[in-house]
């Protein structure tokens, strides 16, 4: 267990460095000087030069690289051009909303996905299988944000079943937090549920055609028991292997779904910053999401190792 975690951690470190390096290099790709972006295009050259010196932009490449890395490690990602606040603070403020939405979407995706996948995968070729396969094929093609629009329209505007709620932080009111998450989570999770269902279906069908299923059945075990006690764990391994990708898709889609439900998440901040050319925020946002993705994958990799004895380092 300890070995497994340290092994995976060791793999994550170079990934983090690599991502940080790419994010740093983004600075060099932006056309025009950041100083001009701060001061506006009409600023005189002396002031631009002064600001550049203040930001350390006149330093050589490696000096800038190490300075940037040094402060990034300490959590300093610079200040916003637009509002002048530390980027890290701005991002962290918005993290809970994004995490809530992604978490809600993941719960919906996993619950619906595994159920549909199990229904089809345990009886491949049956009517149930064909129905679930058709449902997932169609669901995959529905854009998450459009589903959000329709859900909002039907359940909140027309039927009034679910109140149109702004995001409420969990520490303020857990009930309102949960209520506000219902529709966004469904909108976000259904598409990924289809992906999980497809993967689960294939995996379960393959698992149940394995030789050991016959061995266990031959000991007199019921099919239900073979499927749930033994088949499920085997079938979950490939599904878990693709969950990292699912989470990444959920994070990306949460940016768009978040706009439909006016979620004050990182997506909203990123969007404003992209439009407003607030580059440090964009840079910091990319880095923070990348770190989030790497951490999620690290956790999933460890779960994968726990589930699959062959993946444990000897």
């Amino acid at each position: 267990m300890g070995k497994l975690i340290s092994f995976r951690l060791a793999l994550a470190v170079p990934q983090l460095i690599l991502v940080a390096l790419v994010v740093f290099l983004m600075t060099y790709l932006v056309p025009g000087s950041p100083a001009a972006a701060i001061l506006g295009t009409s600023a005189n050259p002396e002031r631009v030069a002064a600001v550049e010196a203040q930001l350390g932009l006149d330093q050589p490449f490696f000096t800038r690289l190490f300075t940037w890395f040094g402060s990034a490690i300490q959590g300093d990602l610079g200040n916003s051009y637009a509002v002048g606040r530390p980027v890290t603070d701005m991002l962290l403020e918005r993290m809970p909303a994004t995490l809530s939405l992604v978490f809600g979407g993941l719960v919906v995706a996993v619950l619906i996905g595994l159920t549909l996948g199990l229904l089809g995968g345990t009886r491949p070729g049956s009517t149930t299988d064909r129905v679930t396969t058709t449902i997932t094929a169609i669901t995959v093609a529905i854009p998450e944000f459009w589903l959000g629009i329709i859900l909002l329209l039907v359940f909140s505007v027309q039927l009034g079943w679910v109140p149109v709620l702004a995001y409420t932080p969990i520490e303020v009111d857990p009930l309102r937090w949960a209520q506000g998450l219902i529709l966004p989570s469904i909108a976000l999770g259904v598409g990924s549920a289809a992906l999980i269902a497809r993967s689960m279906r294939t995996s379960m069908a393959e698992t149940l055609s394995a030789r050991w299923v016959d061995t266990l059945t031959a000991t007199g075990m019921s099919r239900r028991r073979v499927i749930f006690r033994y088949g499920l764990k085997n079938a979950l391994i490939p599904v878990l292997a693709s969950t990292g990708l699912t989470v990444s898709i959920l994070i990306g889609a949460s940016f768009v779904v978040g706009q439909v439900f006016a979620f004050p998440g990182i997506g909203d901040l990123m969007l404003r910053s992209v439009i407003g050319k607030d580059f440090p925020v964009v840079q910091g946002g990319v880095l923070m999401i990348a770190v989030l993705v790497i951490v999620v994958n690290l956790v999933l990799d460890i779960c994968y190792g726990l589930l699959n004895p062959k993946a444990r380092p000897e």
Partner: protein, 694 residues
């Protein structure tokens, strides 16, 4: 993160040899043509392309023409899909929106392929550090949310059509790079690339001549799938307002406007969303269909229920057609089936003393054997092919096993011997059915019983050991858990008791350090040890019969002998009957009291091991003995049986072995040969066959 995304690689279709040749392109086209859904998807795509091209001609209005007299209207005769907040015609904007969707998707997929394929080729071909570092970078980049990558690109480059295509293209670049790298890696180790090296072709030439053609298929499939995703992402970015400017009609942009004015005009949200879904669905379905056509995978054909009417029946049921069938090769198609309509799923009528074999003959069954632990009479198994025809796999097999007796079932692969065992256990694979027969286990009928009823017999009555021990145990559960389960199930033991018993059992079958090995996983065992564990599992509930289905075939010779000795010892100790299924004459000679010889779905001869080896009565038995190198050390050439085994579905109406038999006469091929006095040969009484010299 490497493990996390391995699924992408495994999902990547194997490059099929010769996807480049025109004949295979035609074959793919033919396959696609036979998939109605794929064809429909293709026509939807063509339709969308036509809409995009001729949008100015079809659209009733200029998409940017504002009509301030009808703002936010629902569907009217003038504006079929209503108008937006600027009074612009939604239908016209929808039609023009097709242009952006398709152009951006096409552009981004092309950009992705142009960037990704060279990267993949470089990584796959260079290998070493380039590959290690590059692949890591590609992995990390692919792990990032696509929208995030696109936002970063747009933040750097600003908004334009080209930026949008590049931003979306960059997301898919990694997918193409990984795919190309994987294909290149497999291709470069193939013989022809290495021989091209020997011939002295330049590396670059090798890549372009040999590797690229094999990439075409997978890349096209990947592109079709990315196309759908690209449309989704484009609509998302347009919805967020970072795609194209507002004057350009886009589906995402229309939805953005619809959300703003949702309260006033809810109708506006529907049409653009449905357009996106239909477009994405068309590309996804087309990609899936193309994938199936190129990789040769068969899409699940609609399942046809195996109706009892299609099964060969028993003679005690009305079988008017019996007389019409003999005289030609039997094919159990629906035309025959319609006439024979016994209810094969109903419990076997124990009074029946005849069955009708798949070849249409009526065969008299032997008398039930009193006191046998297993008495199988007239067992027949058939397979329903996806195309719908029913093929017999085992026909009219009779075999009985006394308590404490070891009986061999000997046959070549495909002879139906494993099907026989699976039928006894009620574990027939999908599409195969027990079509007739009586299976008496310890005095009880177990043929045509429900799975629930069979559960009491499995484990506690009959234990099974399969061929490959390593695949016979669940790889992700400890051996202990799998061994304890049947003990708890059948013996009602507590966990602690079951654990003690499991240790005893493992100890008994010769697994050393049994207690500590309970916590081990199957892959931590050697083949021989894993097979001992499998035997322990089969024995856990003290069965009266042990079926060993090629249980020693996968093991090396020494281990094989040890495992066989173990089975012999256990037979003596527990007094159980053993059915030993094997293709190995030596195994039968060494261990079995009696044996049955199986050929092309039929048992051709049954007898004591001594009789079979020294006085074979069926020409096939004799030929089998002669072909066994160990039986005669003096021959300088390995004798073989000429000809080949007829495949299931191609069985002749007469003796199945006739076409290879040196003694065949007219009588052998004209009519089905029944098993009489333990041998299925019309000339059994007149032939004196070669045997193993005493």
């Amino acid at each position: 993160m490497t493990d996390t995304y391995s699924i992408n690689l495994t999902r990547a279709p194997k490059p099929e040899k010769g996807t480049k040749s025109p004949s295979s392109a035609k074959r793919i086209f033919d396959r696609v043509r036979r998939q109605p859904l794929t064809v429909a998807a293709f026509f939807v795509i063509v339709f969308l392309a036509l809409v995009a091209i001729f949008a100015p001609l079809i659209a009733p209005y200029d998409p940017n023409q504002s009509d301030y007299s009808t703002l936010l209207s629902g569907p009217t005769s003038a504006h079929w899909l209503g108008t937006n907040d600027l009074g612009q015609d939604e239908l016209s904007r929808l039609l023009y929106g097709t242009r952006v969707a398709l152009v951006v998707a096409l552009g981004s997929v092309l950009i992705a392929a142009m960037l990704g394929v060279p990267i993949g080729l470089l990584l796959g071909y260079r290998g070493g550090w380039t590959d290690r570092l590059g692949s890591r970078l590609v992995d990390v980049a692919q792990a990032l949310p696509g929208i995030l990558v696109a936002l970063a690109v747009i933040a750097i480059l600003g908004r334009s059509l080209w930026t949008l295509m590049f931003a979306i293209g960059l997301i898919f670049t990694m997918g193409f790079a990984r795919l190309t790298r994987a294909v290149t890696l497999t291709e470069r180790h193939k013989l022809y690339v290495e021989s091209a090296h020997v011939v002295g072709m330049k590396e670059r030439v090798i890549i372009f001549r040999q590797v690229l053609p094999n990439l075409v298929g997978p890349i096209i499939i990947q592109a079709a799938v990315f196309f759908g995703s690209a449309i989704m992402i484009e609509s998302g970015l347009s919805f967020l307002g970072v795609g194209l400017d507002r004057d350009t009609p886009t589906w995402g942009g229309m939805l953005s406007g619809a959300v703003e004015h949702q309260a006033q005009q809810p109708f506006l949200a529907f049409a653009p969303g449905i357009a996106i879904i239909i477009t994405v669905l068309a590309f996804n379905l087309f990609g899936d269909g193309l994938n199936d056509a190129i990789t040769g995978g068969v899409r699940k054909s609609p399942r046809k229920k195996l109706t009892t009417a299609e099964l060969p029946g028993m003679s005690n049921a009305p079988t008017a057609s019996a007389a019409t069938l003999p005289g030609q090769t039997y094919s159990m198609g629906a035309q025959d089936a319609a006439t024979a309509a016994p209810d094969a799923t109903s419990p076997w009528d124990s009074r029946a003393d005849e069955i009708r074999t798949p070849t249409g003959a009526t065969e008299t069954l032997p008398d039930p054997v009193e006191g046998a632990v297993l008495d199988v009479r007239g067992l027949s198994v058939s397979l329903e092919r996806p195309e719908g025809d029913v093929v017999p796999l085992v026909s009219g097999a009779n075999l009985s096993i006394e308590p404490g007796e070891i009986v061999g079932l000997l046959g070549e692969s495909g002879s139906g011997k494993s099907m026989f065992a699976k039928a006894v256990m009620g574990l027939l694979p999908p599409r195969t059915r027990l079509s007739a027969g009586s299976i008496m286990f310890d005095g009880d009928q177990i043929a045509f019983q429900s799975q629930r009823a069979l559960r009491a017999v499995r484990g506690a009555g009959i234990g099974v050991v399969f061929q490959d021990p390593l695949s016979a145990l669940s790889p992700v559960h400890t051996v202990g858990k799998q061994l304890i389960e049947p003990l708890r199930e059948h013996k009602g033991m507590s966990v602690a008791e079951a654990k003690e018993r499991a240790v005893e059992l493992l100890d008994r079958v010769g697994v050393t350090e049994a207690r500590s090995r309970l916590d081990h996983y199957p892959h931590q065992f050697s083949g021989g040890m894993a097979q001992r564990v499998a035997i322990a599992m089969a024995l856990a509930a003290d069965p009266k019969l042990l079926i060993a289905d090629e249980a020693t075939s996968a093991l090396d010779v020494t281990t094989q002998a040890q495992v066989l000795d173990l089975i012999l010892d256990l037979r003596d100790e527990y007094g159980m009957g053993v059915l030993l299924i094997t293709h190995d004459l030596g195994v039968v000679a060494e261990t079995c009291d009696r044996a049955a010889i199986m050929y092309a779905g039929e048992i051709v001869e049954v007898g004591t091991t001594t009789d079979l080896f020294h006085a074979p009565r069926h020409p096939y038995t004799s030929a089998l003995l002669a072909a066994n190198p160990a039986s005669d050390a003096q021959v300088d050439r390995l004798p073989t049986i000429s000809g080949r085994v007829p495949l299931a579905g191609e069985w002749p109406v007469g003796c199945h072995f006739a076409n290879r038999c040196a003694f065949a006469t007219e009588a052998c091929t004209s009519a089905p040969v029944p098993i009489v006095d333990q041998v299925r040969c019309v000339r059994a009484d007149e032939l004196t066959l070669e045997a193993v010299p005493r």
